[in-house]
Amino acid sequence: MEKKTEIRAYKDEFYPPVPTKATKFWRTNILYQFYKFWRLNFKIMRIVVKGHS
């Protein structure tokens, strides 16, 4: 078993957010990621085009 860091509420330490099961599911959901692929490519293209004068 993979040993995970123990995270307890009210402990005076900082813990970054960790993904929920649902987030992990959507990260590798083929259809959703297919949509993301085009969306992110579009965002990247906008940056690329803006970078050239």
Partner: protein
């Protein structure tokens, strides 16, 4: 007939040479000088380092492409610049030393009308005693280094399979190193591969970095829109590392390596050590140790190059306090102020200063990431310099029609976090501009609408797509010039 000489055939030099030849045609000569006979798509070295790609998947020989395009290729390294010629030669030239088997050691003077210096960084392993593939750590900065790192990683994996816990240390190997993104990808890819092999419990992975906060990446961090909030790349990066059970040591300047031990100083001034069984640490970068001479033979290296060996261009190099840095300090044309027919593109130009806030330990050790110059700015600067030079040659003009500043240009960084077509992951990060413009974007320093930070399979697909797209472009396959940098 004009002659343009390009030094270096990496992302920047190869882009410059290909566009120069396309725009200048047969009437003018384009010469490329590079010691490595291969073009390499450096971002995919990460996958060579975890055995997911072979060396031949990330490189190809340059001579065939240059023959097809009509570019003269010399497999040699440039040594000295004579921008005024010398007592016998009225034309400016560079001295080169051939490295091919047939001409090894032969020296030559190559004259030029225009010179593009795109020689990238020198991997300065010597700046950290014990660092580097020949000593106690691995690197993924070149394809042969990455293949070597994979050999080392395989040994660590074998040891894990035999029940021996392994300590893996990944990150920056010098207090002033840059390229955190590449090391970060490598860490995540290793974590992914170990998970795939069900060996995560046998490894203790530690991320060691000279960043003040994680997610700085040498660009002072960034803010991203994520899950209905605007959050910093610090939180984003810590989240990704925590999820992968990777520990981190930040504000650490690695000063020395011995077998299995990294020595580092913290920003608080403490001297500490971290033990490892496998370490991949990025070295400091510097320029290529070029020398420059005037017509009379006087050493003018300091006039042409900055103390770090990178070439001075149209940046504002006046020393300024961090609070006074602006995007206007960053170059736009990449032209040498001393010699207008010389340009430096990609990593080869000297940045005016850092982007991250300079930090010093009480002992005076500067522990600050150097500014990154990623693939996109390297390609874009190569292209605009080619466009301007072609314009000058064809129209006798001297006005730079094309400009590109890192204070205007954005960057897309796809951090691979695991190689698989169905289960792979990539963190897509975009920022615009690369250098924060606090005047234009007083709230976040950058255009928050253009800034992305997302983890998902799509990121892996994009990274893989970019791999094939840029290799297609570099090989000069149909419509290569339509593909963006």
């Amino acid at each position: 007939m004009a002659k343009v000489v390009v030094l270096g055939a990496g992302i920047s030099g190869h882009t410059a040479a290909s566009f120069l030849k396309k725009m200048l045609g047969k009437k003018h000569e384009v010469v490329v000088i590079s010691p490595n006979r291969y073009y390499q798509w450096v971002p995919s070295n990460i996958w060579v380092g975890v055995g997911r790609m072979t060396v031949d998947q990330v490189r190809f020989p340059l001579d065939k492409v240059y023959k097809k395009w009509g570019i003269v290729y010399k497999q040699a390294k440039a040594l000295e610049f004579f921008p005024e010629g010398d007592s016998e030669n009225q034309f400016p030239y560079v001295t080169i030393e051939h490295v091919s088997a047939e001409q090894k050691g032969e020296r030559e003077k190559v004259s030029y009308d225009y010179l593009v210096n795109a020689t990238g960084p020198k991997l300065n392993f010597e700046a950290t005693p014990g660092l580097g593939p020949a000593k106690f750590s691995y690197s993924v900065c070149a394809y042969d280094h990455a293949a070597h790192a994979w050999e080392g990683l395989q040994k660590a994996i074998e040891a894990m399979k035999n029940g021996q816990k392994q300590r893996l240390l990944i990150g920056t190997g010098h207090p002033g190193a840059t390229c955190q993104g590449a090391a970060f990808e490598y860490t995540l890819n290793i974590a992914f591969e170990l998970k795939r092999k069900k060996l995560s419990h046998m490894a203790e992975i530690t991320w060691i970095t000279n960043e003040y906060e994680l997610g700085d990446f040498g660009m002072g961090g960034a803010f991203v829109k994520r899950g209905g909030y605007i959050t910093s790349t610090k939180v984003f990066t810590e989240s990704v590392l925590t999820e992968n059970n990777i520990k981190w040591i930040k504000r650490a300047g690695v000063t020395k390596l011995e077998e299995g031990v990294a020595h580092y100083q913290t920003l608080a001034g403490e001297e500490k050590t971290q033990k490892f069984d496998f370490a991949m640490l990025i070295p400091a970068f510097k320029g290529q140790d070029f020398k420059a001479y005037s017509k009379t033979g006087e050493d003018i290296t300091a006039k042409v190059f900055a103390p770090n060996g990178f070439m001075r261009v149209d940046a504002d190099y006046t020393p300024k306090d961090y609070e006074d840095w602006t995007i206007a300090d960053w170059p736009q044309t990449y032209q040498s102020p001393a010699y207008p027919n010389i340009y430096a593109t990609g990593i080869a130009f000297a940045p005016p200063h850092g982007i991250s806030k300079p930090m010093k330990s009480p002992t005076g050790l500067s522990i600050t990431p150097a500014p990154p110059r990623t693939g996109m700015p390297s390609g874009v600067t190569g292209k605009i310099v080619a466009q301007n030079i072609s314009h000058f040659i064809k129209h006798g003009d001297s006005e730079h029609k094309h400009k590109a500043s890192m204070g205007r240009m954005g960057a897309a960084c796809i951090v691979s976090a695991g190689y698989s077509m169905t289960k792979g992951l990539g963190a897509t990060m975009t920022v615009s501009p690369i250098v924060p413009d606090w005047q234009r974007y007083p709230e976040w320093g950058r255009d928050i609408k253009a800034t992305v930070g997302e983890v998902g399979l799509a990121g892996h697909w994009i990274k893989l797509f970019l791999h094939y797209m840029f290799i297609h472009k570099a090989k000069g396959y149909p419509f290569w010039w339509l593909l963006p940098e």
